[in-house]
């Protein structure tokens, strides 16, 4: 049964937010990507992406470099070593939770209706 005290399975709330997890997952496979590509790949709005990147930068998970390419401003984003490690660990935790959920059988609530077709096998 899943132990809630198992700290190894406590999810990182900063990364677990879907928008931030999408950004970090896209960045995990590249050295860097610019703002436009991240917007395309994650389908986040400009404002949302900007706000998520600011939070990730504040936490030291991404590095943001602003420069001019030709005459256009360009924002390049890459994961820091800590960010790379955190997102890999986060996905690992999610995979382990999923695997665990397949093996855990939830206790039967006596008040709940019995399933059609007979008894439910498993232990509490």
């Amino acid at each position: 049964m899943l132990e809630s005290s198992d700290e190894d399975l406590v999810l990182d709330r900063l990364i677990h937010e879907p928008g931030r997890l999408a950004i970090m997952t896209v960045l995990s496979s590249v050295a860097a990507a610019d703002f436009v590509f991240l917007q395309r790949a994650t389908r986040l709005t400009k404002g949302n992406l900007s706000s998520h990147l600011a939070k990730l930068e504040e936490a030291g998970l991404v590095e943001i470099e602003k420069k001019f390419v030709g005459k256009r401003p360009n924002t390049n984003v890459g994961l820091t070593p800590a960010g790379r490690e955190r997102v890999a660990r986060h996905w690992d935790q999610l995979e382990r939770l999923r695997a665990l959920s397949r093996t855990v059988v939830l206790p039967q609530d006596p008040a709940s209706p019995r399933p059609l077709g007979g008894e439910v096998s498993g232990t509490a």
């Binding site: 879907p18 997890l21 999408a22 997952t25 896209v26 995990s28 496979s29 590249v30 050295a31 860097a32 990507a33 610019d34 703002f35 436009v36 590509f37 991240l38 917007q39 395309r40 790949a41 994650t42 389908r43 400009k46 404002g47 992406l49 900007s50 990147l53 600011a54 930068e57 943001i64 602003k66 390419v69 256009r72 401003p73 360009n74 924002t75 390049n76 890459g78 996905w91």
Partner: protein, 198 residues
């Protein structure tokens, strides 16, 4: 949220920038025509000018993609893989050309080698899409048809080059369509100032 989908976004983007294949395909066709001394292409400078024009077109298309779809810096590992893949592809196609030149086979080794290289080039990093299967399959069948026996190596290689060009352009057009379906149409996003207040 699909982890694999997000992790492969950069690789998918690199491979689906199909408009970049058009100048490359055009050069393959012109190289074949030039070698066969067709029309104005019998003049060497005409092909030289075409190479220059293709280079300019390539740069402009790259700029278009960067502006509308963004810029990705691949990881060192991905860059090493790309270099190795390019070398292997070049060796296989050279092998096909060499086979056409020195062996009197009833098939077109150039087209066959390119069809196999093209299929592997998509299948390994991003997976084959339906249009890749149709285009690579058609090129492979064209190369395997037993009608290349009596045409001579020069004609065989250069028609093979032209078939390579047609396949490259066709794949590029369909790849660009797939890119738009995956990442959205160019006008879906107004890139403008990409700093967006970070």
């Amino acid at each position: 949220m699909e982890r694999a989908h997000l992790e492969s976004a950069a690789a998918t983007y690199s491979y689906l920038r199909g408009l970049l294949s058009i100048p490359v395909g055009v050069l393959f066709i012109l190289a074949g025509l030039s070698n066969l001394e067709w029309g104005p292409l019998r003049q060497v400078w005409v092909f030289g000018a075409a190479v220059l024009a293709a280079g300019v077109a390539y740069l402009l298309i790259t700029r278009y993609y960067t502006h509308h779809y963004g810029r990705v810096t691949p990881s060192t590992r991905a860059q090493v893989k790309a270099v190795i893949a390019t070398i292997v592809c070049a060796l296989v196609v050279t092998g096909g050309l060499q086979a056409d030149w020195s062996l009197d086979l009833p098939v077109n080794g150039t087209a066959i080698a390119f069809a196999l290289v093209m299929a592997a080039n998509y299948a390994i990093p991003v997976g084959l899409r339906a249009h890749h299967m149709v285009i690579c399959g058609a090129l492979l069948v064209a190369g395997l048809l037993p009608l290349w026996g009596d045409v001579g190596p020069d004609y065989k290689i250069n028609v093979g080059l032209m078939l390579m060009g047609v396949a490259t352009i066709a794949a590029g057009i369909f790849d660009h369509g797939a890119l738009k379906r995956t990442f959205g149409a160019p006008k879906d996003l107004n890139p403008g100032n990409s700093n967006a207040g970070i």
